[in-house]
Symmetry: C2
Subunit: 309 residues, 2 copies
């Protein structure tokens, strides 16, 4: 399907339920809000179905009208797998998606019509290209939604998924009047007091081993109490950022075990490291699960890191 | 002067000393390295004059040939004021700059020929536009230099100086093959162990007042021992980033006094706050100097913050 055919598909239908994934992020919410708003501009009914609308994303929905209607067409945006619709929406919508718009390399949504572009840094890039095909003009509100989508999925253009096309789209969004100053501040420069307190505790307990080539951080259940997943996100990137560190290990105490995240630099094999503990993943980012006391878990990881590096 | 006239000026001369400012950053080094390399590609002699070449910027100079020659033409890049040439280069070059290329709103370099574009997010944007006028093709090495210049001066496209033009130039640099993955990692995702240790100590001593609307951090001389300015840079942005904080205050112990930096959100007047202590600055970023013991200084700031908020 071409983007033009997707536009034709949408124009021929009405009463849209636009689905997002659970633990919704800036890309799925920004893309879904922009698509719903564009459809409303065409005189259609549309609503965004979410498991949750975090307070910090409220501005995305400021112009979207709440509409009551019987579902006519179900569209998923940025949902890689129907399992990710979440416990509330999954049972209602599973197997019923008619159009899947996504940018994940592996798409496990069963839908008769799919538009999946794994080269798009964010689903927001696809919605951006859809707007002119739908005949909807890009305005400030739509640009705010799409800038949020694209900037959050690229770490404000810092991650390797950022392409020349991504940057040119962002340029168009700035010209359309998007409030990048507000969005960047909200998304990238605001930390909750609890999150900062967690960082403080993590740094207090930071462990170096293998002559400083490995850094280990850990969180106990007590340390993360009251913090949302949104707020603990990104912690695993802390140890690998340290100069000279080839392997950064994050240990998270869960109810019955410890979840281990391993991130590596300079070609050190994180997957091989995790495999010895029954885990796996990618060469630079892998994970595994360990049991025992925190002290035992840390000792095993330190010993393995000394051997690996 | 147009950019074409600047190119003509450079083409008509040879044996270039290209000056940068003291405490050199990614923009002055990346822009100067790109300009020197472009001039060498035209068969001319050119060298970059710096007070210092921090290790992390070494890759900018990998293709620049070291050349011995008698100075023929002096060009300053990203230097807002001749005073910023530094104690070693200032006496040698002050009053002798022939061409000043800059993007600062106020340019205090006395030169017969000036090209100052305050709308450019970085001096690197100007050098980017100069290349085709010089007839030098943008290749990977030049793109690495200019991407470094532009990304560092915009906080990787996060600061408000980022324009649509900035993003489109960055897109061209990506297409020219610049290694944005390496550069972003080096510039934005690597922290020294000492810097991380400083952050830990700062967070250990973080003070909230005015019902959490003010956050104060401080560094003692002991805490910053062994850290370069480069590594302590950016600390003043920590307290204002905290959710709910309207005024973030950073207290830095110096040899004889305390330097205070005040950053505010939501229209709180940092300048008025600092003026009561004999300081000043901008509405959202100001500074002042206080004397006394650390305890006294913190008490005065806390009392003033309670009154101001």
């Amino acid at each position: 399907m071409t983007i033009k055919e997707i536009a034709d598909f949408l124009r021929a239908r009405d009463n849209f339920d636009i689905l997002t994934h659970n633990y919704p992020d800036g890309d799925c919410l920004g893309s879904a809000a922009a698509l719903a708003l564009a459809l409303q501009r065409l005189g259609k009914n549309a609503r965004v179905i979410t498991t949750d609308r975090p307070k910090k994303f409220k501005y995305l929905f400021r112009e979207l009208r709440e509409q009551e209607f019987e579902t006519g067409c179900i569209v998923s945006v940025d949902v890689a797998d129907e399992k990710l619709l979440g416990p509330k929406n999954g049972p209602v919508y599973e197997g019923r998606v008619e159009l899947c718009i996504d940018h994940h390399r592996i798409s496990r949504v069963n839908a008769p019509v799919k538009y999946v572009d794994p080269n798009a840094a964010a689903a927001g890039e696809i919605i951006f290209e859809l707007l002119p095909e739908l005949g909807v003009e890009l305005d400030k509100t739509l640009a705010d939604c799409l800038y949020t989508a694209i900037s959050t999925d690229t770490g404000c253009f810092r991650y390797t998924n950022t392409t020349a096309k991504t940057l040119r789209i962002a340029a168009d969004l700035l010209e359309a009047g998007c409030d990048s100053e507000f969005i960047n501040k909200e998304m990238f420069e605001t930390k909750s007091k609890l999150r900062l307190e967690l960082e403080r505790k993590i740094l207090d307990n930071l462990i170096y081993c293998a002559d400083g080539r490995c850094a280990i951080i850990y969180t106990t259940r007590e340390m993360t109490e009251g913090l949302s997943d949104d707020e603990t996100e990104g912690i695993a990137s802390i140890p690998r950022q340290i100069e000279g560190v080839k392997m950064g290990i994050t240990v998270r105490e869960k109810e019955f075990d410890y979840k281990i995240s391993v991130r590596t630099n300079d070609g050190v094999d994180a997957c091989a490291f995790c495999r010895q503990f029954g885990g796996g993943g990618h060469a630079a980012a892998s994970g595994c699960t360990l049991h025992g006391s925190l002290g035992e878990v840390l000792d095993r990881l330190k010993a393995a890191a000394e051997l690996a590096l």
